[in-house]
């Protein structure tokens, strides 16, 4: 068991948790951009910065990245001290210079007291903050279809050789996880377009609603060792069917 002081509150957590985990479990909010519960901590955006000091320390507290910093017994953590706020403003100042056209970043920056950036603004119109959530979620799913390309100021997210992403299954996980909406896609009931590819949708055989792309179905079926026709109904239809089966069973018993 680990006991810490976060913002003057006693927070108990377990070995292996991060400061961010512990704070959130205690209902203390720390802003993040590159963090996602389903993925490994990444430490890319630096927005989750907090101040932490061992209880017995006579030196100054250190600024640490809460999504990476492990919880340790006796730590005194401050998530909203002046110093933390200042560090966070610097991070947002930089992000705003990187993505001046992103509403999400603009709003976030404004909320933290950064109405405009003090750095030269990027002019490429990109809304990508290089949080790598898209690459990481794509890898987690197992498709590995897209990823970072280039380096330094030229770094960007791309499909291999900037062509149609061959390994893409059209699941939209990247577009949905992207905090700034940088990844564009088009969707109708019949098809989905993303990363230079056009995917046909599989429809729920009960409601006729689009379920997933054909490629997604093959991918999921293969991974789970299931036949492709396993995925024929949307979750709602499945639930309704289950409910009906149960209701019928009750009637028979009665």
């Amino acid at each position: 068991m680990i006991a810490m002081d976060i913002d003057g509150r006693r927070v108990v957590t377990e070995e292996g948790r991060t400061l961010l985990d512990a704070a959130r479990e205690a209902g203390i909010d720390i802003p993040t951009l590159c963090h996602h519960e389903a993925l490994e901590p990444f430490g890319g955006c630096r927005l989750c910065v907090v101040e932490a000091a061992p209880a017995d320390s006579r030196g100054p507290a250190e600024l640490v990245i809460s999504c990476l910093a492990p919880a340790r017994d006796g730590l005194v953590v401050r998530t909203a001290s002046e110093r933390v706020k200042e560090a966070r403003r610097t991070v947002l100042d930089l992000l705003l210079a990187r993505c001046p056209t992103s509403d999400v970043i603009r709003r976030l920056a404004a909320e933290h007291g950064v109405p405009r950036t003090s750095f030269p603004e990027s002019t490429d119109g990109s809304k990508c903050i290089l949080c790598m959530l898209c690459e990481r979620v794509c890898a987690k799913i197992g498709a590995h279809a897209i990823g970072g390309a280039g380096k330094s100021r030229g770094k960007r997210i791309a499909a291999p050789f900037d062509l149609a992403a061959e390994d893409c299954i059209g699941c939209l996980a990247c577009a949905r996880i992207c905090p700034t909406g940088h990844i564009g896609y088009e969707e109708t009931d019949d098809e989905r377009k993303i990363w230079g590819r056009t995917f046909r949708m599989v429809k729920c055989e009960v409601t006729g609603r689009p379920l997933m792309t054909e490629e997604q179905r093959s991918f999921e079926a293969k991974r789970a060792g299931l036949p492709e026709d396993w995925f024929t109904k949307c979750p709602e239809s499945k639930r309704r069917e289950t409910a009906e089966t149960i209701a019928k069973a009750f009637e028979e018993v009665r």
Binding site: H144, A145, G150, P160, F161, L163, E166, D167
Partner: protein
């Protein structure tokens, strides 16, 4: 004049692939280095074949190929000239040298001539300041000369 091209024949590709340990993702940098050496760039079809051979996602191959300066997606010239832009070289005429190379070849910095003979790039200090201005010629350092004369010599008979 016929279009210059770097031939990516199946034999050379399969030779390259055969030397790679199948399914060994850690051999990726080595594979790209071999491709760059054989074809003076990392051709798309070779990258795809390398990805399959090493069981590495194409996205990772592309990521690495675009990350390291030693790899290029477009063919480099037979001779790659890297002009050092460190302080000592700058002071001893590197800008003049670079300008002359570029204007004689009619390319921009980082560019390659149409006939694929020359590529001209700049590099940060190579640590050979005593022989400024320094140019790396396919990896070999040259220097210690008057910039214009050097430019002329580096390009051989070409003007």
């Amino acid at each position: 004049m016929s279009e210059p091209a770097i031939v990516i024949d199946a034999k050379r590709v399969s030779d390259l692939l055969d030397r790679l340990p199948a399914g060994e993702a850690s051999a990726l940098p080595e594979a790209l280095r071999a491709a760059q050496a054989a074809f003076r760039h990392v051709p798309r079809e070779v990258a795809a074949a390398v990805a399959r051979r090493l069981s590495v996602p194409a996205s990772r191959v592309f990521g690495l190929a675009t990350f390291h300066g030693e790899f290029s997606l477009f063919p480099k010239g037979e001779v790659v000239l890297k002009v050092c832009t460190g302080a000592a070289c700058h002071g001893r005429g590197a800008p003049t040298l670079l300008d002359e190379l570029l204007s004689k070849l009619g390319i921009a910095s980082g560019g390659t001539t149409k006939d694929l003979k020359f590529t001209v790039e700049t590099t940060n200090c190579v640590g050979a300041c005593a022989m400024a201005p320094v140019v790396s010629v396919n990896g070999e350092l040259r220097g210690n000369a008057e910039p214009s004369a050097m430019a002329k010599e580096l390009l051989g008979g070409r003007s």
